[in-house]
Structure formats: C-alpha cells, structure tokens
C-alpha cells in the first residue's frame, strides 16, 4: 500500500479499519500549536461522516480505489440505479448511501462511482453542476426587509436560494457539497 503525507480532498485512505474518502481537508493551527489537518472523512461502505484531525506530515495509508465515470438512470425509492460509462454495466446503490446527493440526481446526469475491490460502493458528484431554474418568483424586488435572495426550484426538484436577478429558465451553477448557488452558468 502506498503511504502519503498529503491529506487532501478526494484522497481515499485506510484508517480505523475502514476505507474513507477525504471530503474536506483544512489546514489548522490550533491555539498556539503546530500545523494540523482537520479532515472530514466519509466511510465508503457505511457513508458515515466523521471529523478527524491529523498531524500535518503524518503518514497515512492510501486506499486502493477506482473512480469510474457513470450515469444516473432512475430510482425506485429504495435503490438508485446507475450505468458504467465504459462497460455499460448497471448497478444500484441503496438510498441511504446516496443520501443528500439525491437532490441533484436527474436522469442522464454524469457522476463518479467509487469502486473498492471492484465493487461500486458510493457515488461522487462533480463539485459544481449546472441546472436549469424551473420556478422562481419574478422580478428583482424581493423582500426589502431580508433582501438579497429568493427561493428557486431547479429541474431536479431541489430548492435553492438564488440572487434576485435569477429568472426562470436560467442555467445556474451549484455547489453540490452544500447546495449553495455559485454563479450563473454560461
């Protein structure tokens, strides 16, 4: 197994008897101390997310995972079905593994499947995705008391806060990690 001292987003590691994907890594200087990396890691089998703080420069074991491009097809409530882009093989993952990502899945959308020992265990969305706004309140007026933003529904059915200038039919870029508006898509 390869060792690395560079804990960064997107890296898969073997840690505490499991395989984890680093979904967030941030450099911190606690109080008056040295450099640490505070990571949010997701277990690729159970989808459990934990936070752990590594000493900067400590070696961790890199996990052997394969990231394969796939396409989302449909779901039946309990399971979500995908197709591998190269092999055309279909596979499914349970809804609890998909979790909150389901709000950005519509038929035909491309994402990645993470394979451990050849078995797809979870999916990863691109960090930013473009979606069409299907409904939002018209105009730039908004609510002058709160100001700044209004609700919009995108083509997947998800609700997103958008700036006042966004209109129905606009394509917008969304941060898939926290579901926030990034910018208008061109």
């Amino acid at each position: 197994m390869a060792m690395t001292t560079d804990i960064k987003k997107g890296l898969a590691i073997n840690f505490k008897n499991g395989t984890w994907l680093v979904i967030e890594a941030q450099f911190v200087n606690p109080g008056k101390g040295g450099a640490f990396t505070r990571a949010k890691i997701r277990n690729l089998k159970s989808n459990q997310v934990i936070e752990y703080t590594f000493k900067a420069g400590e070696s961790v074991e890199e996990a052997d995972i394969n990231r394969r491009k796939c396409q989302y097809m449909y779901n039946d409530g309990a399971n979500f079905y995908f197709m591998d882009n190269d092999t055309y093989e279909q596979f499914s993952l349970p809804a609890d593994v998909i979790g909150n990502d389901s709000r950005f899945l519509i038929d035909g959308i491309s994402c990645y499947a993470m394979h451990i020992d050849g078995v797809p265990t979870s999916i990863e969305l691109p960090p930013k995705m473009d979606f069409k706004v299907v409904t939002t309140t018209p105009g730039i007026k908004g609510d002058t008391a709160t100001g700044g933003s209004k609700d919009a529904t995108i083509e997947t059915g998800a609700n997103i806060k958008v700036p006042l200038f966004v209109k129905e039919g606009d394509m917008i870029k969304i941060n898939t990690e926290d579901g926030s508006y990034v910018s208008k898509a061109n």
Binding site: P30, G31, Y52, K55, A56, E58, T146, G147, S149, S183
Partner: protein, 330 residues
C-alpha cells in the same frame, strides 16, 4: 454571489451593542494598523506580505495577524483600559466552517486585572449581546446563565482521557502514557503535538455544548506572552473560551517582565527559522513598552465572526460574512 441584507442588519446590531458594552465599562476604543513592520512572533502562523514602494526603496510590510503588540505599546504609554475592533489576517487558514483568512478580531486589555477578571468580562459581554439566558446553536440548547463551566487543561485530560499532563511532562512520558491508553500519536514530534492531537480529537468536540466553557491554565510552552502560574509554573495563566464546541477567545494574564519576554521571543524566532517561516525582527519598542506597564494587566482576543455565528445560529463562518474569500475565489 448572494448578499443577505438580514446578515448585515444583525451584524450591525451586534457590533453596536458590543461597542456600547465597552463604553459602559469605561474602555477607550483605539484603532490599530492593518499593515505592520513587525508582527507577533507566534511560530506557526503564516502571514500575508506586501511591499511599501517609495522612490528609492522597498520596505517589507505584513498584514497584522493580531493587534497584540500595538495594544501593549499603548498600555505602556499609560492608556488604561482599551479595546480595538479590527481586521486581522492569517495566511493559509481557509475552508471548513470556522476560518476565513481575513477576519474581525476584538481585543481588550484590562488593567489591575488578571485572566479571571476577563472570564467575567466574557460572561457579561455574551449575555449582553444574546439578550436572553439560553441560546440555540445548531439544535443544541446552550444555557448562558453565569457562572459558566471552568476546567483546567489538566482536569480535561484527566476527565476525557485519564491522562495527567502534570505527571507526564516530557515527550517520552506523554507518548508512552498516551499509547498505553490507545491514543493516536502518529506524526507527533514533540510534547505539544501530542497535546493537540488528543485535545482536538477527544476533548474539544465536547466543550461548551451545554454551557460556555473556559479552558484554563495551558502548558507554558503554549503561552509565550502569558504569565506563568504562581502555583505551578508548568502551566501559564491563559484561558480559551469555547461555545458550542467552537473556540471563541484566547486570554492571558500578561507577561510584563521584558527580560523574560525577550528570551521567549528569541526562542520563537529560532522556531520560525526551523519551520522555514518568514522571520521577523524582535520588536524592541514592544519590549521597552512592557517595562512601563506598571499594573497587572490581562488581555484577550475574541473572534467576532465566530461569536456572531453562534449568536445568529449559523453553521459556517461564511454565512455571517458578506464577502467570504472562499466564495470570491469560486
């Protein structure tokens, strides 16, 4: 980018009541510079650098990571109780829920006082800003009625890890004891590394969940500008305030012995060299100012954006900033 006017209104209200609070307590508000020639020596901090350009030369300047040295110069000039609300900068600290490289810092210094008096200031200040006796932060109810919880570092290590810091004063001892108790010490190269690795993973997440918590008496190695505890000089008179698991403030009974301060700065300068960080000069004016601070003085730095996050019940520091850097970079 989304600009929430509601956030600006709430911040504006909180900032006003913060200034009112210090006015009532008879503090003078002072403005400290954002660009400085000599920033504080904290070994691990990374600074932003810039150049002042005049016809014949370039002078290296830094964006201040703390107004501490300037505040102490004013104390030495007999300014009495002072506070500042200023922007501070830390390079590389971005991402996660609690960091923006540019952030608002509140620092105040109380004369004829020690760190325990600052704990009382914190209690009063947060109660004044919250305007109620219980706040809800991310579905956690936090009771802010005083007195708040107080634990020394020693007590916390005993409570959560069954480890005595005082009895494990060397790197070798602490490493052995920690490993016997199955704590991960991977990558730790010195005593402080182990302290932080355990503290961050096993202690910090519990702090300030039901009531705000003061963690006090830190190992002296982690308090270069603080007075050592008279009871046990292995520890120094420093505290941090935690609310909802988040570190909000850091305070000291100030060290005013300029000789000792000088030797600690030299140590830290060496450490910066070792860590290949930008090297700063030792600020002679700062050392001289310490000599003219006549009374016992205590000082504290409080992360204003973090405190506002808690009072406004926001999960991410970016949610209380109109222009978070992460969003600008996007």
């Amino acid at each position: 980018m989304i600009y929430e006017k509601k956030i600006a209104i709430e911040r504006n209200k909180l900032t006003k009541s913060l200034r009112n609070f210090f006015e009532k307590e008879k503090f003078l508000e002072v403005e400290t510079p954002i660009m400085v020639k000599i920033p504080g020596m904290e070994p691990h901090l990374n600074v932003f650098e810039t150049d002042l350009i005049t016809p014949n030369k370039k002078t290296k300047l830094f964006l201040n990571h703390s107004p501490e040295l300037q505040m102490k110069k004013l104390l030495g000039a007999n300014f009495g109780n002072i506070f500042t609300l200023t922007k501070t900068f830390r390079n590389g600290e971005i991402g996660g829920n609690f960091h923006n490289p540019e952030f608002t810092m509140l620092e105040w210094y109380r004369i004829k006082a020690d760190y325990k008096d600052l704990m009382k200031d914190c209690e009063k200040l947060v109660k004044t800003l919250a305007k109620k006796s219980e706040i809800t932060y991310q579905n956690h109810k936090i009771n802010i009625k005083t007195p708040w919880e107080k634990f020394s570092c020693e007590e916390l290590f005993q409570k959560y890890c069954k480890i005595s810091l005082d009895k494990n004063r060397t790197f070798k001892q602490l490493k052995k004891t920690s490993e016997e108790k199955n704590f991960d010490t991977n990558g730790c190269e010195n005593w402080d590394d182990i302290f932080f690795k355990i503290f961050l993973n096993h202690i910090e997440p519990h702090l300030g969940k039901e009531k705000p918590t003061f963690v006090y008496d830190y190992p002296s190695t982690q308090a270069a500008l603080a007075k050592k505890s008279s009871k046990n000089p292995f520890f120094a008179e420093r505290f941090e305030l935690y609310i909802g698991g988040i570190e909000i403030a850091n305070a000291f009974s100030e060290l005013t012995d300029s000789k000792e301060q000088k030797s600690r700065l030299i140590e830290e300068q060496k450490m910066r060299k070792k860590l290949k960080k930008t090297i700063f000069d030792i600020d002679g004016e700062f050392l001289a100012s310490l000599e003219s601070i006549q009374q016992n003085t205590a000082g504290i730095a409080l992360g204003v954006d973090r405190l506002f996050m808690i009072l406004m019940d926001k999960k991410n520091i970016e949610d209380v900033l109109l222009f978070p850097l992460n969003k600008i970079l996007n």
